[in-house]
Every structure is written in structure tokens, then in C-alpha cells.
Amino acid sequence: MTKQRKAIALISGGLDSLLAAKVVQEQGVLVEGINFFTGFCVEGHTHAIRKRDRARPKRNNALWVAEQLGIRLHIVDIVEEYKEVVFNPRHGYGANLNPCLDCKIFMVKKAHEWIREHDFDFIITGEVVGQRPKSQRKDTMPVVARESGADDLLLRPLCARNLPPTRPEREGWVDREALYDFSGRSRKPQMALAARFGFEDYAQPAGGCCFLTDAQYSAKLTDLWQARGEKRYELDDIMLLKVGRHLRPAPHFKVIIAREEGEVNYLKGYRGQYVNLAPVSHSGPLALIDGAASDADLRLAARLVARYSKGRAAPEVEVEVRQPGGGVHTLKVSPMPPGEIPAEWML
């Protein structure tokens, strides 16, 4: 009796990984999915924060893909281990702080560890030669296989016929002739294959699946590192970079001001960790202070908060300042006119 072969598919939630897993599944291989959470993933949670986005469907695309395929999905928290990839990418950053090639190597390496622990045979990714400028080029694909340690246990079903045969192909675990030879940035072959499989409602992420590809987000992360004097972050730091207006009036502190009710509710969860301000004489946003602010700094922060409150045109706004330990005092301040807020404060 032929041994049932088992593969783990890296599932991002996008179309390519869905198709890659499906192609192998169709060949009788038992496929399970693995999805890695780095902390920078662009997922439904940003919609969950912002109230105006709450009407949008909130689904985890990786879980949705697993449901379409009828496979189990293992979601792995790699937030801590991933820091080294972000801090020191051997192959450098992309246009922003995106370490795409190192990221792919790291994820395939984690998948390789997983298959060894769980007695699976090989790894599937949805990579396509020429699809991405850094991580999915003909010359970098062997780098991913080699540096991850997966070597020829890494199968890319969508472009396998453009690459040397891997062990699953050589050993007959999968039929190479039933794999594909996609290449380049065109999405048409994938869309045609999706139609053939009957997939219609797949995710089409605009701007990638990672906040590190975003210029504004990368600028805020760079600012965080500069302020701290070193490349360092915790999960809360990188989550907060996704929320609110960030203004840095001085190197030693910044003000994070909620932009709407959903963000107010989210920032409320951090009141026990950060000095926080909110107007009390007028309705207005909650703000957090990141850093060690002096009394003068807090007064300045209160003026900024007042500027974004309903009292922005009033001569004076009362702003409550709460310490994480419970101390509360109120400042009476004049809202800072928008023209007086230096552009370089806005991150």
C-alpha cells in the first residue's frame, strides 16, 4: 500500500497559497495549513479598531482559505522570534522596512521545523517566479530553499515546472506534469486556475499583507527606534503604530491621539500602562503619552489634544491627565492652532 504523503502549506490568506495547496490536495496528498503571525500582519483587526470600518466583513483570510480547502490550519505566534528578522535582515530591506526575502526564509524554516516535529513529508508555498521583486525571483528562490534548510522538500506548485524537480516530484509523491509553470507579475493564470477550481470570493490584498511594506508605518517604526536609541519593540508598540495620530514634539515623548470612537475604545485598553489625556470640558479624543513627559510636555500634549477636540475653537479646554498609577489632575489649556503644529511632529 502506498504511504499517504502529507504536506504543510504556508497559507497567507491570498489567492496564490490557496491555489498551491489545492493543486497538491488534488493529487491525493493530505494537506494542512500553517499561518504565521508576526505582529505586522495586515488583518481584519485594524478594521475591528476603526468604527467606520466595522461594517466591512471581518474575516481572517487564512482561516477562510482553510475552510475553502477543508484543511486544518495551525496559526503560529512568531512575534518574538521574528524581531531578529526585522532588526537585522541578512538580505536587507525592500522599499521600506520590509525584509521580504529574510521573512520568506524564516517562515519556510519554521515550516521545516514543523514538518520534522509532526512527521510531514514536504512544504508547499504559493510562490511564483518573478511575482515579487525581492523574494520571488528566479535567483532568490534557491536562496529560500537553501537558507531555510528545507532544500528540496520545498515545493512551489504554481511554478514548479520552471524550477528543478524537488524531492516530492522525483519520488513521485506528486506528479510534476500536473503542476504549473506560472511566471511573472500577471495574475491572469492564477485567476483562470481559481475559476477552474470554482473559487470566486478570494482575497485580493492591495499593498501586500504586511505593514512593513507601508511607507508611513515604516516611518513610525523608524521614529520609535530613533527615540529609543536602538532597534527594539514589543507587540504593544507595533500594534499602537497602527492606531491614531502620532505626534512627536520632542525626542523623549510622543502623543498618540485617537482619530475616532473605535480608536478611543482601543486606546482605553492601554490606560493602565501609559499616561493618558482626554478633554473633559468638551468631547474629544483619548490620547496616550509614550515616553517620559515633564509637566511642560504634558501641557503641550494637552494643547494638542484640545486641538483635536470639539473645543478646538474655544479659548480654553479642560483636559484631564491620568497617570497609570491612578493620579489625576486637570489642565486648562488653549487649543494649539493647526498652523502652529510643526509638520515634522506628525509621524
Binding site: 503571525f37 478594521h47 475591528a48 479598531i49 471581518k58 481572517n60 482553510a66 475552510e67 490550519l73 495551525h74
Partner: protein
């Protein structure tokens, strides 16, 4: 029936799902896990996770700003 509570407040998806997944791995079949969350995304994501991994959603409810999902751990291959 044994029921355990998981505090996943203030976590954004997929972290509550990961916490549920990791806690379920250490629970016996038949145990109920009550996840208390503040991200409304869990109302979709935890049931989806249960469907793909073979566990049962017993109840979902909203209490003020909190979203509670109760699942029953099923025997899985």
C-alpha cells in the same frame, strides 16, 4: 462538565484565536473553553477556527464591550 476561562481581552485577531488554539491543545475532549475578548472579530474567527479544526461552538454572546465565545473541545485526529 469542566469549563475553563481564557482572558483574551485587549488582544486583536488573530491573537485571541492563537490563545484559544494553544489552550485547547492542553485540554481534554469534552472540556468547555470560555474565551472573553474585546475584539469583535473573534465572533467570526473563533468559530471559523473551530470549523476547520473540528471543535464545536457552544455559545457566542456580547456583554457590553466584551465578546464571549464558548467552545467545546472535541477529539481530533
Amino acid at each position: 462538565m469542566k469549563r475553563v476561562v481564557l482572558d483574551a481581552r485587549r488582544l486583536l485577531c488573530p491573537m485571541p484565536v492563537i490563545r484559544v488554539q494553544d489552550r485547547v491543545a492542553g485540554l481534554s475532549p469534552g472540556t468547555e473553553l470560555e474565551a472573553v475578548c474585546t475584539d469583535p472579530g473573534v465572533l467570526n474567527d473563533i468559530p471559523a477556527w473551530c470549523r476547520v479544526n473540528g471543535h464545536t461552538v457552544v455559545e457566542t454572546r456580547t456583554e457590553g464591550d466584551e465578546y464571549i465565545v464558548v467552545i467545546r473541545v472535541e477529539p481530533t485526529g
